[in-house]
Amino acid sequence: MAEKKLKVPEDFTWRNMEVGNIITEPGNASLRKTGDWRSMRPVLDKEKCIKCGLCWLYCPDGAVKLLDDGYYEPDLFYCKGCGICARACKKGAITMIEEGEK
């Protein structure tokens, strides 16, 4: 996988734009940090989590990842903080907190 880019590089100018802003190598949205305007952040309590995967299923952005130990964790590189995972969780294992809080 290519390197994840946080912003457009300085040396990418208007001259580098493809005709009609077409993206000739599609699927590169995964390289962009699309979660940087989040105001609320999901926090997982592993004590309550039963690894059911409902958060993973409900996340509209595919921003919940399955860890090796079977737990599901929000990927904050993409997560927009919509809170759907917290609502979907039957065990109350996900809490939404303000960004900036510990």
Binding site: V8, F12, W14, E18, V19, N21, I23
Partner: protein
């Protein structure tokens, strides 16, 4: 060999679209453009043109369907007028920004209210800034020629911008007059098949129409604008090639008996034909007048306009639309084009011919004489008009 035929301008447009062998037509009928989609529907139904014809439910859908068509590399045509052009407005911008070479015939019509199906340039002026190449036709031959040419210039890989061909509603769209129709071989020589480098293809996936974050939007717009301005060179070149094949030549700004004239009248579209008569008549009376016709509206032909008017003392700009709160839109653009010039004529703007109001030869004589007065005194009414009672 070309043949001389009598055709209504709308049918001449349809004939050009047929000979251009378009792949897709998506159009919604609206007065005064109706004869174009009707005739094309007939042509497709008769098997005279192998094209997809989508009878869409609105102009917004017409332009949206055209986007999809152009995206897969199909030669694409639509046509509208007045309110229809307004209804498709937001999609019109998308076509140019995504660089889809759609060709559209616009039968210029006044905008509501009051409701009017008759001609003026209100609809054109509402799409000044949309990033389409735009030209005006004066007669049926030009309607045919420029329609054919539009595909050629739009689809040029160095251009890839959509083109609007403007013809005045009724005073041109519904006029029957003789014109030369070329042979199919000549058309094929001038207009090669459309080969689109970025055509959507499941075997070669691409993303068309991604959003632009603040980090990229400005760069996208600058790239678009530079490419649009650069298209003028290809426009000039393709008109030269048109002349080589068909023997008729076009230019961004065209003059009529303007050499050495102290006063010039500037017009666009079919009314220029009437304006020519007034120039003939006034010159016969010994007056120093001439005509300048703006053919290329976008990209605006700054240099050609400056050259065409620089020796005149007075330039009278005739507008068929009002930019509310600012007067005639063509006049204000002409003034802007001349502002930085050391030597330039005095410019006076007069508005007339709104919502199908006819402009007679006498009216144009009034326009010229009143324009001279305004230029001389340096002031005029808030909005100078002609042919309006009271």
């Amino acid at each position: 060999m070309s043949k001389r035929v009598g055709l209504e301008a709308s049918y001449a447009v349809a004939e050009a679209v047929r000979m251009a062998d378009v792949d897709l037509i998506a159009a919604y009928p609206i007065t005064p453009q109706t004869h174009i989609p009707e005739r094309l529907a007939e042509i497709v139904a008769n098997g005279e043109l192998d094209a997809a014809y989508i009878p869409v439910e609105s102009e917004h859908s017409a332009m949206s369907a055209c986007l999809g068509s152009a995206a897969v590399g199909a030669r694409t045509f639509t046509t509208t007028a007045g309110q229809g052009l307004e209804l498709m407005h937001e999609v019109v911008y998308v076509a140019s920004s995504m660089r889809y070479p759609i060709v559209m015939a616009v039968c210029n019509r006044a905008l509501s209210a009051p409701l009017s199906v008759w001609g003026d340039h209100s609809d054109v002026m509402a799409v000044r800034d949309v990033g389409w190449i735009q030209v005006f036709c004066e007669n049926n031959q030009e309607a045919f020629d420029l329609m054919l040419w539009a595909f050629r210039v739009a689809e040029d890989p160095r251009v890839l911008f959509p083109v609007m061909v403007h013809l005045d509603g009724f005073t041109l769209s519904h006029v029957t007059e003789p014109l030369w129709l070329p042979e199919q071989e000549e058309v094929d020589k001038f207009l090669p098949a459309f080969k689109y480098q970025f055509a959507l293809d499941p075997d070669k996936p691409m993303t068309h129409g991604a959003f632009g974050i603040p980090d990229i939007y400005s760069e996208a717009k600058k790239a678009q604008e530079v490419a649009f301005l650069n298209s003028k060179e290809i426009i000039l070149q393709s008109w030269k090639e048109f002349a080589d094949v068909f023997g008729r030549s076009y230019a961004p700004v065209e003059s009529y008996k303007a050499d050495g004239a102290k006063t010039l009248l500037l017009t666009m579209g079919s009314f220029s034909e009437t304006a020519k008569i007034v120039i003939d008549e006034m010159q016969a009376k010994g007056e120093s007048v001439g005509l300048v016709r703006l053919r290329l509206w976008r990209p605006f032909p700054y240099e050609e306009l400056r050259q065409a008017v620089k020796s005149a003392e007075t330039l009278v700009v005739f507008d068929r639309a009002v930019s509310s709160g600012m007067g005639g839109p063509v006049c204000s653009e002409v003034k802007a084009a001349l502002f930085s010039e050391a030597v330039k004529p005095k410019v006076a703007g007069i508005v007339g011919g709104l919502g199908g109001r006819d402009m007679s030869v006498k009216d144009f004589e009034r326009v010229i004489n009143r324009g001279k007065e305004i230029a001389k005194s340096g002031s005029g009414e808030i909005i100078e008009t002609v042919g309006i009672r009271g």
